[in-house]
Symmetry: C2
Subunit: 228 residues, 2 copies
């Protein structure tokens, strides 16, 4: 028999969506399998029919989310163009991916706090694709002489962290709006994207940002923070 599809997709799809919402809002431990099943309007045993365990369901969701982001940024790079334009699109692609799977930012923040306890190699592989793509864009920009030398990891954090923070913090901002100073206007997504684009490119344009140090230390880690 083929999946019995009811309104809002097959039971498997509803399960996936319900689980993403639950995991994002409550975290792995706070999420309850019964509640996920109820939200998806299926019997709990069906969850174990489609997925091996709560943990496997969680991993499948994360893998899919990271896969989407990795695919989006890879497409950006493959499309080519000047490095600075690519970088702008890279940043936008990540913001759009966060918008497309609205539970991604919260799950990602939690997973970081968790020390990656629920990640497996295949998920990390997708993450790796993202940072490798950024590395390539930065490298091309450097070759072309439009970017200064930077540590791709620092750059990555400077891009991803604000975008994830902003998306994931929507509920908390809404919840405590009445306790915040009135002049604090909640920004729109485009404002944040524009800010990240501006700051990142500014850091890349100005050589010297992370360089100064090269001469000032002789010890431990490679003298420069650095590019390839």
């Amino acid at each position: 028999m083929v999946s019995r599809s009811t309104p809002n997709g097959t039971s498997r799809e509803r399960l996936f969506a319900a689980a993403a919402a639950e995991f994002a809002a409550k975290g792995f431990d706070g999420a309850k399998v019964d509640r996920i099943a109820a939200r998806a309007r299926i019997n709990k045993a069906m969850l174990y029919y489609h997925f091996h365990s709560k943990a496997a369901l969680y991993r499948d969701i994360l893998r899919q989310m990271f896969g989407t982001v990795a695919g989006a940024v890879t497409a950006v790079h493959e499309q080519g163009g000047p490095a600075d334009a690519q970088l702008r699109r890279f940043i936008e692609a990540i913001a759009l991916a966060a918008e497309g799977s609205p539970h991604f930012p919260a799950m990602w923040l939690r997973e970081i706090a968790e020390g990656g306890r629920h990640l497996d190699e295949s998920i990390v592989h997708e993450m790796r694709r993202v940072i490798e793509t950024l590395g390539r864009i930065l490298h091309e920009g450097r070759q072309a002489g439009i970017f200064g030398p930077v540590n791709p990891f620092v750059t990555q954090i400077g891009i991803v962290a604000p975008l994830m923070f902003f998306s994931a913090s929507a509920p908390i901002r809404e919840r405590f709006r009445h306790l915040m100073p009135t002049q604090v206007v909640t920004p729109r997504r485009e404002d944040v994207v524009a800010h990240v684009q501006a700051t990142t490119l500014a850091a890349l344009a100005s050589p010297g940002t992370q360089r100064a140090r090269a001469s000032s230390r002789s010890s431990r880690r490679s003298a420069r923070a650095v590019p390839t």
Copy 2:
């Protein structure tokens, strides 16, 4: 009778430390009261003797952490000086606070993902002090003509998010180092602080970053979030 102090502080202090570590690593739901008690080397009932509940303990920890940050940035502002120097110190103060209470970043990331479910007014009040301080620094810089106009909230996110991300992600980076591209060198804290300082100041120096919007918006996507 006065608190029986054993090595590593009073039982209440050990409790506080053990709970912070547990909550940061496992989240509110994942944290187990029995485990906290065991780590603190006390009987579980003692936890309920010192704190009203698991939730109250959690809140006390968060309140203390935010209070420390708020105090540090307030001191930065009170010390005065040119706005750009204040901003640099503001950023550094936050990074140092994160270093001083190493469980803070993880708890903060989780709380955002959680929608602030465990926050109360007094905690939000401390958070407010931080953003108000930033608002004052930005205002002074604007008055002095060295900063362009920006949304303080976007600026705040651009500062706090990378710092928290970086601190909280230490375990996950360590854990999956072997699966990451070799040229990705893990940055040091100072590199990240320097990057955040550089990017934030660059955005403030260049007037135009977040300005366009007031005049140019007629359709929902601002003309320049954007590509190319």
